[in-house]
Symmetry: C2
C-alpha cells in the first residue's frame, strides 16, 4: 500500500518547504533576521509545528550549511577545467572567493558563524567539507606533478594554507572591514598570488592535516612561543 509512502513524501515536502523558506529568508535578509516565527508564517504553519521537523533552529542552519557545501562544490567544479594545472588551481580558488561574495550568507554559515559550538566531526557538514577539500587537494597534486609546485609540498597542507589564506580576504570583504574605496577583490587576488608564490618557494611547512581515515597520525606538539624559522 502506498499510504505510508505518500505520508513520507508529504512529510519530506514540508521539511523541504521549511528549508526553502529558511533559505529564502536568510539569503534575502541575512542570518540574524531569520526567525522560527517568520519561517512558520511563510509556510503557513504554526511555529511549534517546525519543532516536529527540526530539533531546533540550529539544526535548520546545519542543513542549510550542508547545502552551502554542495553549492560551493558545484561552483568549484564549474570553475575547473583549465588545461594548465596552475591556472586551474587559480580558477578554483578564485571561485571559492567569489562564492564568499555571491553567497555571502552561506559562506558565513559555513566558515565563520560561531553561534553553534558544535561544528565538530559529528556534524555532517564536516564530512562534506572534507570531501570537497580532498577534491581540491587532487588538483593541487596535479600542479605538483606538472612541476608548477615543488614535489616536497604535501597537497593537503598546501590546501589548508590556501584555504586559510583566502578565507581572510573573504571575511574582511564580506564584513566590510576594508577602508572606503579599497577593493576586496584586488586584495583577494593578491593574497592568492602571494600564497601561490610562497608555496612555490618551497618553504618548509609544519601543519599536520588530519587525513580522512588516518586519525591515528600523531599531531606534533604545538610550540607556544614565536615560531622558530630555521629555513
Amino acid at each position: 500500500m502506498g499510504i505510508r509512502e505518500r505520508q513520507d513524501r508529504e512529510r519530506h515536502a514540508v521539511r523541504a518547504s521549511i528549508l526553502d523558506a529558511a533559505r529564502d529568508l536568510f539569503v534575502a535578509e541575512g542570518y540574524a533576521n531569520v526567525s522560527i516565527r517568520k519561517i512558520a508564517e511563510r509556510i503557513e504553519y504554526s511555529p511549534a509545528a517546525i519543532y516536529s521537523y527540526f530539533p531546533g533552529k540550529d539544526d535548520i542552519f546545519f542543513a542549510l550549511a550542508a547545502e552551502g557545501f554542495r553549492r560551493l562544490d558545484d561552483t568549484i567544479k564549474d570553475a575547473a577545467g583549465d588545461p594548465n594545472p596552475l591556472q586551474d588551481l587559480r580558477n578554483c580558488w578564485w571561485a571559492f572567493y567569489l562564492f564568499s561574495k555571491d553567497q555571502r550568507e552561506f559562506f558565513h554559515l559555513m566558515f565563520v558563524d560561531r553561534s553553534v559550538p558544535a561544528i565538530t566531526e559529528q556534524w555532517q557538514g564536516f564530512t562534506l567539507l572534507q570531501q570537497m577539500l580532498d577534491r581540491v587537494a587532487a588538483r593541487i597534486q596535479r600542479s605538483i606533478d606538472a612541476g608548477h609546485l615543488p614535489t616536497s609540498l604535501n597537497p593537503q597542507v598546501a590546501l589548508h594554507v590556501l584555504w586559510a589564506a583566502l578565507t581572510g580576504p573573504a571575511v574582511l570583504g564580506c564584513t566590510c572591514r576594508l577602508g572606503p574605496g579599497e577593493d576586496p577583490d584586488a586584495l583577494a587576488r593578491d593574497v592568492l598570488e602571494t600564497t601561490l608564490a610562497g608555496l612555490s618557494a618551497g618553504t618548509r611547512l609544519t601543519f599536520v592535516p588530519c587525513l580522512p581515515g588516518a586519525h591515528a597520525a600523531a599531531a606534533l606538539p604545538s610550540p607556544t612561543g614565536v615560531p622558530a624559522h630555521e629555513g
Copy 2:
C-alpha cells in the same frame, strides 16, 4: 564651583562601569550572551538607565571594539623590538594571531562580527585600526630597507596582504572549522611563512590601499572575471 565637575565625573564613572560590566560579561560568556539586562543587573541600575549613556547596544560594542584596537596595538608593541627587521615582522604578526586566540571575543568584534553594518569610515574604531596598520606598515618598510623584502613592494599593500592572509587561520581557528586534531597554530605559522615567502618573490600586486588623507587616489575598476596573471 566644582559641582558640575563632580557631576561629569560621576556620569563618566557610570559610563565606565557599563563598559566594564559589558567587557567582563562578553569576555567570560561571549558576545552573544551579553544583554542589556545583565549589564544593568551587574551595575545595579535599571536596564532603561543604560540608554541615557549609550544610544543602543551596538554602541556599547563599538566602544569595546575601540578598546580591542588599543589592546591589539599594545600587544603588537610588546612583541616588537627584534633587531632583525624580518623577525620583528614575524613576531608582530604572530602577536596578531595570538591576539585572535587569547582575546577571541575582542578579535571577533573587531574583524569578524557582522551584526552592525555601520563599520565604515565614520566609525571611530576605523581610525584606530588605520593608525595601527600604519605603524605596522612602518615595520614592513624597515624590512624592505634592510633588503629582506623587494623594494618594489608597497608596504601598505604588503600590510593588507599579511593582514588578510593571517585573518584566515585566525577565523578558522576561533570558529573551530579545522578538523579534529588539526592545529590552528601550525596553520597560522605556515600561512605567515608562506605569505612572507610570497612577498619576497616580488609578485606584482594590484591592491590599491586607501592611504590616510589620500582618498582622492582613484581606485582601479575591479575586474569581474578570473584575475589575469601577467607576471
